[in-house]
Symmetry: C2
Subunit: 118 residues, 2 copies
């Protein structure tokens, strides 16, 4: 058995715009922007898994079944930074929890967990 997790592919209305947003949000690097329908970022050039943004025509219609969770060194600082960058706070019925539920510019839900290490 030998499967390496290369990436999560993210359906996007605008792959370059959404991929650039995530590059800035995570401090990652662009590894492929050679085609307008594809935009690929990684933590560093040879580090996987990365994120591959792929153009699709159908719009997001429901809460995603898969979402990203990120662990910050400082929760409040990172949430403030992401909101400034264009993320939005969303209510998916999470109630009073230790993590923040945000959405990226195309509405993909993700969480910023409590401060600490994974």
């Amino acid at each position: 058995m030998s499967l390496e997790w290369e990436q999560v592919t993210v359906a996007a209305a605008d792959p370059a715009a959404l991929g650039t947003w995530w590059k800035d949000a995570l401090g990652w690097v662009v590894v492929d922007d050679s085609h307008p329908d594809v935009f690929e970022i990684r933590p560093s050039e040879d580090e996987v898994p990365g994120l591959l943004f792929l153009r699709v025509l159908d719009a997001k219609a429901a809460k995603n079944r898969l979402h990203f969770d990120f662990r910050p060194v400082d929760h409040d600082d990172e949430v403030a930074r992401l909101l400034e960058l264009g993320a939005t706070r969303i209510d998916i019925g999470q109630g009073d929890v230790s993590w923040a539920v945000l959405a990226d510019p195309e509405g993909n839900e993700f969480c910023v967990l409590s401060s600490g290490t994974p």
Copy 2:
């Protein structure tokens, strides 16, 4: 800026069953099965990102906006192994491509790419 990608959370009707399936598919380890609504796996105990399966009541209704892509050493061997394990081949209109499009036991789409390195 300091965000570590801790996991992808996967909505699941049966977190333990689906998480165990992915553990076996990837050869990963279980890091949390202490609650029936949560099942967490990682490549190894301290390696992230991992996968967190979380019980949800709503059923999968559409093609996922996010999906996993894995790079195999030997494409045909890995696809055969995953089908044997209970994955299914699906047609999402991909046409004649170098990767295999499969679904896990709860219907989450994922791809096995061509043989090689990421």
